[in-house]
Symmetry: C2
Subunit: 310 residues, 2 copies
Amino acid sequence: MATTATAWTAAPRGAAALVWMMAAVPVLAADPPARAQTPRTMDEVLQATTAADWRPLEPENTLYLQLPQGRVVIELAQAFAPLHAANLRTLTRQKYFDGLAILRSQDNFVVQWGDPEGKRSLGDAQARLPPEFTVKATAGLPFEPLADRDGYAPEVGFSQGFPAARDPARGEAWLAHCYAMVGAGRGNEPDSGNGAELYVVTGHAPRQLDRNIALVGRVIKGMELLATQARGSGPMGFYEKPEQYVSITSVRVAADVPVAERENLEVMRTDTASFRQLVEVRRNRRDDWYQVPAGYIDLCNVPIVARPRP
Amino acid sequence: MATTATAWTAAPRGAAALVWMMAAVPVLAADPPARAQTPRTMDEVLQATTAADWRPLEPENTLYLQLPQGRVVIELAQAFAPLHAANLRTLTRQKYFDGLAILRSQDNFVVQWGDPEGKRSLGDAQARLPPEFTVKATAGLPFEPLADRDGYAPEVGFSQGFPAARDPARGEAWLAHCYAMVGAGRGNEPDSGNGAELYVVTGHAPRQLDRNIALVGRVIKGMELLATQARGSGPMGFYEKPEQYVSITSVRVAADVPVAERENLEVMRTDTASFRQLVEVRRNRRDDWYQVPAGYIDLCNVPIVARPRP
């Protein structure tokens, strides 16, 4: 299921859709159900949402990664990695990333970009940052628990639109390595990351990375541009020849881009009754195709939907 | 982590590897550890394996899907979907798939191929098959349990090299929708699948499909050729224009291919002490990079490694 493309879907096609089998994204119902009726599918849930179920992206917390193939929109996780977010804004505003490259694409794992030469100056940005692998799970940190148990953490759920986990005993919370999450590469020393080298999860959630590295955001749009990058033939999916690199045209903070050129997106809130309904219709699929509802949903299988603002 | 590329890795590269961060596939140790030493990493486990830890692919249970970009090797799950495997052999030997196309690529979900026109004759193959969604969990069905709990099934583990699940109370076992698993598309009727339209999981494991559709095998090599197919812009990732289809050059049963043209692969057995060691070093990463071993592993994060036969 696509976390971002969902709300752009319309009606199914002809011949090829005959055996379309598993409706990851059920087709929009012709007649939206009345509010009082319990929604059966994700599209029925989305149809029934109101403006209050959505939030716009904050321009200061949004990055545009421009590739030759198109634009990737990243929302920064300000509450979980404020120092990395600030460093990324500094790097971006210095045009640090412009002309750098995607260096790595490892199948079922990550793509990663940065400086192929490792020579570009960080300018005013920090070279090392305290490891923002976890934050204090204070009362002030929004957290919408998912009822379903998780193997990697005592508790999982959502915090301001990001998949997250929490350990009440340790008083810690952290972001989860789900598909489309963005992290800051580091060396063996925990404080050796700074945001100058970023990776995005393109495969099955590598949750073993949770609490071991700073997640700094999530791809909201354009994930397919990263996920389809040719895999590198070197160890860990690194490209072996410079001509295989994919050049980064630019990275910009949305706030610095003229309004007319910004992406006009909104993201479904994760702290609403509508979102809890969405989780439930995904936990137990009720459309005609399914024979056995799972009765469970894995954190990283919950779609956090984005769409163009109406 | 790549399930198939692992054993092909060698040594890391220069500049770009400086901040390589999370070693999904740790680099081969320069000095293989002695057998007596407990392996710390996956590569140490693999280094210490013997011939008895590996099995060749059975040519009658192996399909070669030839795409313009290269060859995809699929192992059929004979024990879980014998009727689908037989139908696939019949279709393949009639050259049913030759000249058909990849019709769908949905981000973080599946690619799917079949007959764009829906007109090609199935010949001697069955048009409908009993739904092989589960099998009886008899004493004769090999099953290597994974100690880690799972949200989607009472028990998970491995059966003859495939990720699987089991419900002792119902006496049923089934294959799990992990990355690279291959399934047979169907319509709303459970017996409407026949193998003529196949899909492969290219995203986070859509485990909600378990027990709802017949899984028929697993991609052993060439997964990156499927995972990088451009996403379709239509609903559910279907391509909207015939010129976007990716043509299937041919599909062949390996047994029908001259020996010299076969892939010479072996797959790690999933019922050995070495495999249990591999699971453990992935459950608790002990290499220097990790700060916090997860203490848990999700079924679909366990790599089932393939490599060229020595």
